[in-house]
Symmetry: C2
Subunit: 306 residues, 2 copies
């Protein structure tokens, strides 16, 4: 593994000179380290680049790491990862991604993930994205996630775009069976001329399924963010979505949350708020000795973490 990859791994995936448990490290489109465990088997995908990960029902409170790095320009990495999570398993998947270029060439990662959760499985999926390097080449991360939640399963997705990603298009779809639950927390920070586009489609098809979708955006510089969600309640179910954005400088945000109630037993709620940081908040922190910039940074940090 090269130095840049190691540095990226520390930021995106809790890497500390190695991983405990199951892992696969992808560097510039190649596998540079892999380990399976008795309950988590990581295989090479046969029909396309990527992994097939089988998590047995015996996996309880286990963690699997599948970080990916692009460490220089002229790499356009496309990968397909499939997760089969056995009934009643309880696992954390850590799937960060870093793209780095010091040249004028683009560094891109495009990870297409499918999650198949069997009955009662519980998955916490964590993902941090970052772009680094002094190059003028575009840094892109374009994730696609498709989740299939069987009866009573729970998928929590905690996704964060830290900074430095020039352009991103994020697409997430999910289908929920009876009593399945999907919880998404997304935080995206854009600066300079960056753009971020995010799109969620969640279909609640089973009785008493539920989704809670929380999106936080900070658009600084002249960056532009576009948010679209579509929550479909096709049965007795409940959906809640919330998208809040903070603007700074000339940043712009377009938020378009869509609710479709196809059954009278669907209960769907949405809230959205867009605005800049309130002056009083800044003043309060300045009286505590922070500069205006430090105050702004603190507020944004807290907002993205909320």
């Amino acid at each position: 593994m090269n130095k840049i990859a190691e540095k990226l791994l520390r930021i995106i995936s809790d890497y500390a000179d190695g991983f405990k448990g199951a892992f696969n490290i992808r560097e510039d489109g190649q596998c540079v380290g892999r380990q399976s465990t008795p309950n988590i088997r990581i295989d090479t995908k046969k029909d396309a680049p990527g992994l097939v990960i089988h998590i047995s029902p015996h996996a309880q409170k286990e963690v699997v790491y599948i970080p990916a790095c692009v460490t220089h320009g002229a790499i356009d990495d496309l990968v397909y990862n499939d997760f089969y999570v056995g009934a009643g398993a309880d696992v954390t998947i850590i799937a960060g991604c870093g793209v780095h270029t010091d040249s004028g060439d683009m560094a891109r990662h495009n990870g297409i993930h499918r999650f198949f959760l069997e009955k009662g499985a519980h998955v916490l999926y964590k993902e941090k994205h970052i772009g680094t390097g002094s190059g003028t080449g575009e840094k892109r991360i374009d994730p696609v996630s498709n989740a299939f939640l069987s009866e009573g399963s729970v998928l929590e997705m905690d996704t964060v775009q830290l900074k430095g990603v020039d352009n991103t298009v994020r697409k997430t779809t999910a289908r929920l069976a009876a009593r399945a639950k999907l919880i998404i927390h997304e935080s995206i920070l854009t600066e300079k001329a960056e753009t971020a586009e995010t799109d969620f489609t969640v279909s609640m098809d089973g009785e008493d399924s539920a989704v809670d979708l929380i999106s936080r955006s900070v658009a600084k510089g002249s960056s532009r963010q576009t948010y679209h969600s579509r929550i479909m309640g096709n049965c007795r179910c409940s959906g809640h979505s919330e998208c809040d954005a903070i603007l700074a400088d000339q940043g712009t945000v377009n938020a378009s949350p869509e609710l479709y109630a196809g059954s009278i037993d669907a209960v769907l709620i949405h809230e959205a708020a867009i605005g800049k940081i309130a002056g009083e908040q800044i003043i309060k922190l300045r009286t505590l000795g922070l500069t205006e910039e430090q105050a702004e940074e603190k507020i944004i940090e807290g907002f993205l973490r909320a």
Copy 2:
């Protein structure tokens, strides 16, 4: 004026054997009565069917009635009405529409309204829509409203679709200059296999302009409603939108409220809620002696009026 027209007028426009003040009555595509007043001049439009209405700055607390009726099938009435509202005028425009067919032929009204509000003008625009008659012909009302609000002007739109309109597509756009204010209350009731599609685009272009958009929907039977709004804040301004829907039977609603903040000084907020009537509300009213149906009716009535 025929009996059906008279009956429709009573429902949609507070008609009581005549109007006080300025009015124009449109029946089956023809003018069947018109009166101007010193401050409100109603002229026939020269380049298209419809009216040009000039409201002078001297008009204060005056009312102008411009109801339209289609009283039988095989009428597809298209009308263009332009309102020029002088600086500082304060008027109420009552513009209801009823469509009636006892045959298998369609009865349709398609009213295209433009509102030009000069500095400081205040307009309350009220509109009730209804479809009646025993025919199988389609009853359609497709209104288009384009509003241009000069500095400090206020437009309040209070629009209600009572019942019986088979299909409607409603399009409203508005551009707001500095300190202009737009307040929209829309209520739509659909039943049977009716459909309603409503679309708002509001662009806040002047400092301290504001929009408040409240939409209430009740979808009964197998009716389908689609709501889309796009509020654009391009400067220091505030926007609030709220769309709430009650579902009954197999009714469905799709709500897609969009917020675009193109300036960090735009403050935009949205809320949406879709669901059926809570059981407790019904029980409460039943203990007061109402049947379940009466209770439901009361709740829906209150909801649409709120």
